[in-house]
Symmetry: C2
Subunit: 395 residues, 2 copies
């Protein structure tokens, strides 16, 4: 375990915390660009409450609405242009993961004269590493991506159908205002996809780390167990504030670095899903759910011990040996059962994806996420055939 950790984001968590937005934004700027998604924050009244809080604090604002579910680089450019034209000096991201991700990259794009796509990683490469960005205040309205307190963002280039990511220190939000009340109106299926997304962040960490990190393992198991306990309650009754609170907290800690620290983890399932949702109109959480069990069965062959530990600690299945493959597979089956129980897809056919483009998905994934040997980075690393085999098993 040799690592650095520094997450400088200040977190304000709890029901009602949206009311603090104005005073928080006023600490970082005079005029905010409010970035929003498809319109749900306006329908729910959240937008009006945010604006009221800004006005009360004397903060001016401009708007960039309409960030797509898989945010596009052209939207980043549009938002950065609005911020420049309007003289905004702080960005407020009010929405789900896509809105927050787009807002982070806008914040750097405002201060960069080149093509913002230069900031996005392509495999090992990044044409331009951003060093500065406008301050960003995140206000998530969905419990899913954990983007509110981390420095990552995923952006799609709609011209090439390439969806890739960027993660740099300057993207850490200055403040995250996390108010579970804002998620009370999230529909059942989006709630379930959010639970899937957050659990997949944890399973990626858990199964793709170096091992030898017992505390991180226990933390990861704790988040999975909590999400499996409280996720179904939030799905069953969207107005259950306690369930919404637990799920939102789980989503946040799933990807704020606390589980990942020291693990040197990889995210192969995310990389493959990004390719699927760049080609198809698929919710990110649904795409993850459709392929994660198949990836797990593939990976268990080379690291059975990790999957045995998962089966034992999450589902209480007692192994006959540390590498008891039967136990490992039973754990994955039980996990798949859980995904089905919250109406999440566990196959590609359920999300309308057939076998026509399997090679293309593999090629595109390798294009954005290949390691120094040309494979998809992960434990195990996956070559082109491995990806195709895994996807075929998920059909």
């Amino acid at each position: 375990m040799n690592f650095e950790f520094h997450n400088p984001t200040r977190l304000i968590f709890g029901a009602g915390s949206l009311s603090k937005l104005g005073e928080v934004v006023a600490e970082h700027g005079k005029k905010a660009l409010i970035v929003t998604g498809g319109g749900s924050v306006k329908r729910s009244g959240t937008f009006d409450r945010a604006v009221e809080s800004l006005k009360d604090a004397g903060v001016l604002f401009a708007q960039c609405s309409g960030v797509e579910p898989n945010p596009r680089i052209s939207t980043v450019v549009r938002g950065a242009n609005i911020a420049r034209e309007e003289g905004c000096d702080v960005i407020v991201a009010l929405g789900g993961g896509s809105t927050m991700d787009a807002a982070k990259v806008m914040a750097a794009a405002v201060l960069y004269d080149g093509d913002p796509w230069n900031m996005i990683r392509h495999g090992q490469d990044q044409v331009y590493t951003p060093a500065k960005a406008l301050p960003v205040i995140t206000v998530p309205t969905l419990a899913a991506t954990g983007s509110e307190t981390n420095c990552g963002a995923v952006i799609t280039n709609e011209e090439t159908s390439v969806k890739s990511f960027v993660a740099d220190k300057c993207f850490y939000p200055r403040v995250a205002i996390v108010d579970p009340e804002l998620t009370l109106s999230v529909p059942k299926n989006q709630t379930a996809y959010g639970v899937c997304d957050l659990i997949t962040h944890v399973t990626e960490t858990y199964f793709n780390g170096i091992g030898g990190t017992p505390i991180q393992d226990r933390f990861a198991e704790g988040v999975i167990l909590t999400a499996m306990e409280w996720g179904p309650k939030a799905i069953a009754d969207g107005k259950n504030l306690e369930a919404r609170t637990q799920v939102q907290w789980a989503a946040l800690v799933a990807l704020n670095g606390w589980l990942q620290v020291g693990t040197d983890y990889r995210m192969p399932v995310h990389m493959i899903e990004h390719t699927l949702s760049a080609h198809h109109d698929v919710a990110h959480g649904a795409g993850l759910s459709a392929i994660n069990p198949s990836w797990m069965r593939f990976a268990a062959k080379s690291r059975p011990e990790r999957f045995v530990q998962f089966a034992q600690r999450i589902f209480g299945i007692v192994p006959k040996a540390p590498d008891d493959m039967d136990c490992a597979m039973k754990g994955i089956d039980r996990f798949e059962d859980f995904l089905r129980s919250i109406d999440c897809p566990t196959s590609l056919s359920e999300i309308g994806i057939g076998d026509e483009l399997l090679s293309r998905y593999a090629d595109d994934t390798l294009l954005v996420a290949k390691d120094e040997n040309g494979n998809l980075s992960g434990r195990p690393a996956m070559n082109r055939d491995d990806i195709i085999e895994m996807l075929r098993a998920a059909l």
Copy 2:
């Protein structure tokens, strides 16, 4: 769950990381005050390596050595005076919890003209709330207090035998350089006391939080289980770097805020132990170990469910009901067995404390840590008689 969380300390963790000290300090100042304890860092060669790293980076330095195991306010004054006279603009704390705590308060005392004791809390009161401090770089040489990445400090007023604490944002170290190699030479008993100290930080959090924080519960259990697995290995073989690494990481996360966030916890066992070690020459970890099981038996009467959960999840004891007191008590017995197995005291008599001053300990504890009703803050709160009863049970 309504809370704010912001731990801005940058962490550099891993064997060999001491070599980065010079470059890190150079980012924060030109002349460092190196604060050290009783001399072990000089005997072990750690001090020379630190100085070499500073010299290589062109950083000048002055020294304040001899911080006591229970650091005194007069030592804080002495260190602050050296820093002023020598024109130091950054503080390096190279040692255990006492050294780090003293260094934090020195860093604020340098910039404060009043009596530094004004910064220390007395019950609900604090005469002066420090708002600024010189940058502090912590380099722990012991896995125990977690002081390296939090904003707390415990200081003793030797004139009044009052030991109390301060916790303010300005005390967060700028950087913590945590190098498990530096702990390889810690003697067996100090290693065990460190394990006790870190586990007690977790049990305080776990048993004195508001409840309804399932992820924090799981995190806490994960740290306890890891400390109970790896602590004995580090005690048995001090040169086992993997064991030292796991224990040091456990000590850090036990009190960096990750387990505590949202729990609104109290630390009654620490408050009582501070009084004991202000009166007697007792190692902090040993004092905690001597009274923690008795405190647990006292507290279990009013919150059996928490102790049942502890018994079940830490020791696998299956309860007959959520408030099965027999199960709760068996869990505490097993915990006490663990403490004995690592040669830590589980009674006051083992650390040479008799029944002569029980009322005085209660009065002194209430002096520094009473809540708005005049009781010792905790779950449950303890009045004077409760404290005496608990201590008597620990004799």
